[in-house]
Amino acid sequence: MGVTVKSKKIPLTGAEAVAEAMRQIKPDVVAAYPITPQTPIVEIFSKFAADGIVDTEVVTPESEHSAISIVTAASAAGARAMSASASQGLALMVEVLPATSGLRLPVVMAIANRALSAPINIHCDHSDMMAVRDLGWIQIFSENAQEAYENMFLAVKLSEHPDVLLPVMVGLDGFIISHGVEVVEIYDDEIMHSFVGDRKPHLSLFDFENPITIGPLELPDFYFETKRQEQEAMKNALKIYIEIGKELSKITGKEYKYFESYKLEDAEVAIIVMGSTAGTAKDAVDELRNEGKKVGLLKPKLFRPFPYDEIRDALKHLKGIGVLDRAYSFGAYAPLYSDIRNALYDLEKRIPVQSYIYGLGGRDIFKYQIKSVFNELLDGKFSKEEKCIGLRE
């Protein structure tokens, strides 16, 4: 597929790339509250508003709790509303996150993934988004600034789709992506805006002819049904994500699958990892392939809803799998590992899967470490114990 529209390649941080996407999306309302390492996203966007480049109403609330309340309510009022957050900020939003999804309101937030306190740490891991993974928000992870930029468009369209109407968070690794500079291909403003179009709300708080009660009390006689519908919407999101991805492909020439497979088809063993580490892992795959080792990679992008069937099909030929999680699920299997094991359960042949924890609180992960993971998998060194990469024992 060739690129069909004009674009420019410019050096940008991930935060700048996300802010560029927001500029092209033209949200009606943005709530801007600072939290490292998300802050530059809302700073850059606020400057766009200050310079009249966008005519978005930017609200500067006193907390993340109010930030999410503002965008949720603005969405209920029919506006396209966005915000961004990370770590403790996302944790402070937790009370409202299931209200946004439970009310079936489209809202998009970029999350500059960061460790949770305590101990306080401002660097990257995925524990923030993992902590909120069951609250009804669609979750998309990005490998680099380019993906973060493109995922924002996917997210808006997916969120507002009448068969979905669920909020979406787009993860980008804190500092690594949010502050790292890369060459990013930015597509034409008008084309990107017309891709998402203007929001056509399914309900409005300003319809006085047909006044609507949004967010009522539901007792045991109805609550269950409402939640069931939310689950159906998540299932719909799985299908719609692909449809929207195909549309976006017409602009960018790229593919938008649930996950990226890298040299996976003929691989014997594979690593599964989300976010920026997938880039490092691809280099490791290339080097090991040069040594004649049949290794591959699967990088999930759409984490919620989780595409169990498709992932299982993509992995079923492997002899061994290593899942790299950048978060714990304390007292249980790591989150991504747990989902992968779930996906594989339907296979007749049991594939050994090793859980690895890496990169917590911004701990670096190097190519040699990923290569040694591959070698362990090739050597058949599997255990039921979680292994840690780069931990000082």
């Binding site: 309302v29 006193e62 709790h65 109010s66 309340s69 603005a74 300003f206 609507i212 009522p216 007792l219």
Partner: protein, 320 residues
């Protein structure tokens, strides 16, 4: 039309239609519906209501029923003010794009728990950002939706389930938070205190507030039959006694100028207000008599102070 009596108000409401209708499940004797109908009928424009979690929300929106005949939103307990900020911002954004033509009023409403306590940060933020909406606190001086726990609005000496009177306790040992003062600290254009018995006072204050651009705040006392412990028929009587004892003065602060709207010729002793309620029953013993005396002293001082503030703001150009 000028509203001078409840009859006038009833005529107005018949003419304009009710935005809050029957079918809600409030306790008998509850004053929330009176507050709502009075305040909402004071708006000459269509109204969007944003509600905090609380008595009102749970009794008026039990799915699939609703008592709201005007657009209404509830998100959570904390965020009536920040949700109203979001609605108001969306309104401005959509109006700018020409997608909304109508002029509207936005009303946020919460109980004292959602306003004095858990929601105060969101309220403060919204006031500081100067969102154009009216915030109404229906103040029944405790967490009544969950069964009479103490809040920052609960008065000194009241017995609540989380701060009960007992062998070594008089109930709440702290004076209630002065929320009106806190709100006024944001220098917003209109802050007022009203009381459910005085429908005309509520109406006038709401009417005035709706005409003002920017954030406005109304703190309305509303006795809770169930948890204050009095018969359903006495809501208005107790409400009136709260003002006639100066326990709950009616006043307003307009651009920093304070006006006391009702000055009893001779204030009634606080016992008259207290003795009708179960939550103060324990104060009428020999050993707790001092609590009532302390209460009376504080009420008299506070009212005196209010009168002084009225004088200096009106006569000496001082603004609070």
């Amino acid at each position: 039309m000028e509203i001078k009596s409840i009859r006038d108000l009833a005529e107005l409401q018949t003419k304009t239609g009710l935005k809050f209708v029957s079918g809600h499940r409030m306790c008998a004797g509850c004053g929330i519906a009176t507050i709502l109908r009075t305040v909402l009928s004071a708006s000459t424009k269509p109204v969007v209501v944003v509600n905090a979690t609380g008595c009102l929300e749970v009794v008026s929106t039990i799915y699939p029923y609703t008592a709201w005949n005007t657009p209404w939103l509830h998100v959570t307990f904390v965020n009536a003010a920040s949700s109203a900020s979001g609605v108001e911002t969306a309104y401005r954004a959509l109006k700018k794009k020409g997608l909304i033509k109508e002029e509207v009023n936005i009303v946020a409403i919460g109980g004292d728990g959602g306003t004095y306590d858990i929601g105060i940060q969101a309220l403060s933020g919204a006031l500081e950002r100067w969102h154009n909406f009216l915030y109404i606190c229906y103040n029944n001086e405790g967490y009544m939706n969950t069964g009479h726990q103490r809040s920052g609005a609960t008065p000194f000496g009241a017995s609540t389930t989380t701060q009960p009177a007992g062998k070594v306790s008089i109930g709440k040992i702290q004076w209630r938070k002065d929320l009106v003062k806190i709100v006024q600290g944001h220098n917003i254009p209109y802050v007022a205190q009203s009381n459910v018995y005085n429908t005309i006072d509520m109406f006038k204050k709401a009417s005035k507030a709706f005409e003002i651009e920017g954030p406005k705040f109304l703190n309305i006392l509303m006795p809770c039959t169930t948890n204050w412990g009095f018969p359903e028929s006495m809501t208005m009587k107790i409400s009136r006694l709260a003002t006639e004892t100066n326990y709950w003065p009616l006043f307003e602060i307009e651009n920093g100028i304070l006006t006391v709207n009702y000055k009893p010729k001779e204030r009634k002793p606080i016992e008259e207000f207290l003795k009708l309620q179960g939550r103060f029953k324990h104060l009428f013993t020999q050993e707790n008599r001092h609590v009532i005396e302390e209460m009376q002293k504080r009420i008299d001082e506070d009212f005196e102070n209010l009168l002084k503030l009225e004088k200096v703001t009106h006569e000496e150009g001082v603004r609070i």
